[in-house]
Symmetry: C2
Subunit: 118 residues, 2 copies
């Protein structure tokens, strides 16, 4: 797991991390704040944040002794591009398949009608 895409997907594979992202979409927050809803230690949440950070999903600034976490939404595009690419490709393929089937229909419908449709 070395490329960014892997890191992003992997980061979002964890429900806690997804939830943190969801909350960060609404407002920046510090580690303690973020940790509050879950019943895991603050250190665990800190680790989760590190994962999100290394995936490029999040950045951190300093504000006195707090280190507010900020969501970086651009990385999402990396995923959507990948996903959309193959979704489109698959759909395009099905479309062609439909064409082929339609073609077969006309083949069997119009030409040699010495053998009912399948």
């Amino acid at each position: 797991m070395d490329d960014q895409l892997s890191r992003v997907f992997s980061a979002l594979a964890d429900p806690i991390r997804r939830d943190m992202v969801a909350r960060l979409a609404d407002a920046d927050a510090g580690v303690n704040e973020l940790a509050e809803p879950y019943d895991v230690s603050v250190q665990a949440v800190s680790k989760h944040l590190k994962v999100l950070e290394e995936a490029g999903l999040v950045t951190r600034t300093r504000d006195a002794q707090r280190r507010p976490v900020h969501l970086e939404a651009e990385v999402f595009d990396l995923m959507t591009k990948w996903i959309e690419r193959y979704r489109r490709q698959a759909e395009e393929r099905y479309r062609r398949l439909d064409d082929v089937l339609a073609e077969m229909d006309t083949d069997t419908a119009a030409p040699d009608r010495q053998r009912g449709a399948s």
Copy 2:
């Protein structure tokens, strides 16, 4: 990791599995076929397929002794919906932040005619 979203993200976190999906977007394929490009055992690929299958990304039919793997692109929507939701939310938030900043500009430009609205 029990919910589908986690399974899908987790499934795509692996480069080999992503590559398999990419190839399956182009054409269905059997396990051996799929395994060929990678230098891992066929059994390993079989396991990868199981992961993709349990994530709902792939289905398998039977054709003689082969078990062609077929990409199910609908599951992608699950991810894009999630991603887009929070991407939009974050962007909306930034937009509001811009408004606030603009507001502050006008406040300081056309100074307090009685302590501007909150």
